[in-house]
Symmetry: C2
Subunit: 154 residues, 2 copies
């Protein structure tokens, strides 16, 4: 049996990136920011908080920390492939914000780089060769036995 008190993957995800600063750090990293001082200046975040958030993102596999200068030691932080995979979630949040929380002051729109047009974010089924909306999504529980050792795929 799955232990109901264990956090779900969504809960673990939110424990890792479900706070405002973590999402803003990832957004800045997607814009190309890598150095501690640049994150601090760009986000206006207190340095102790930035240190903690970056370390948590590194520990969680979302960012990697690289030495770029030895004397004195200086590090840069870049998104891992797992971190880059957060971009659909982040883009969806940014676009929702621009649409529903934006006002006439909002200066930023996300566009498709090559043509400059605003784009859509869709659910796509390769099997049916169709896009679809959220109401067509179903959550499937995988029936599994109580022996966790047998759950590894062959």
């Amino acid at each position: 049996m799955v232990n109901e008190s264990d956090p779900t993957p969504l809960e673990r995800t939110l424990q890792l990136v479900g706070d405002r600063w973590s999402i803003l750090i990832i957004r800045a990293a997607l814009r190309g920011i890598r150095r501690f001082d640049d994150f601090a200046a760009d986000l206006g975040i207190a340095r102790p908080i930035l240190t903690k958030r970056l370390q948590r993102l590194v520990d969680g596999g979302v960012m990697a920390k690289d030495l770029y200068q030895e004397h004195p030691p200086r590090f840069e932080y870049r998104l891992t492939p797992a971190g880059i995979n957060l971009s659909p979630a982040l883009v969806a949040l940014i676009r929702w914000g621009e649409h529903h929380m934006g006002d006439s002051e909002s200066p930023v729109v996300l566009v498709h780089g090559p043509c400059g047009a605003e784009f859509e974010q869709a659910f796509w089924c390769r099997t049916c060769a169709t896009t679809f909306g959220p109401t067509a999504i179903r959550a499937v529980s995988h029936a599994r036995g109580p022996d966790t050792s047998a759950r590894t795929k062959p």
Copy 2:
């Protein structure tokens, strides 16, 4: 000029839905849960916290509160169209969690309802008739004058 100290739409979005409980409430609502007691039982959330979070989501336009019984008064909470529009962000977070934070205990997979196949989440440009990845996204600043009254589209 845009006042740099004003929160961006993304920051306002995260202030509204960027916490673990709010996202779990929205996820439960997408699964069809509507009544206060059902949210409390499903999420295992303390009732005062649930009350605060639901009220914030109602105030923010993500959920609407409807009287479904008059004596004694009982309310249900449903997602507004703006709330339903959060589903791409939520689905992206759930899928990222299942992929990167899941383990052999993870029992839930999101599938395309009609065919039962796992689906993709893509960026789609109608102008170019193509899907594309996050590296092809560009943020565009709209140059605007200081007179906000002139910003409404004709």
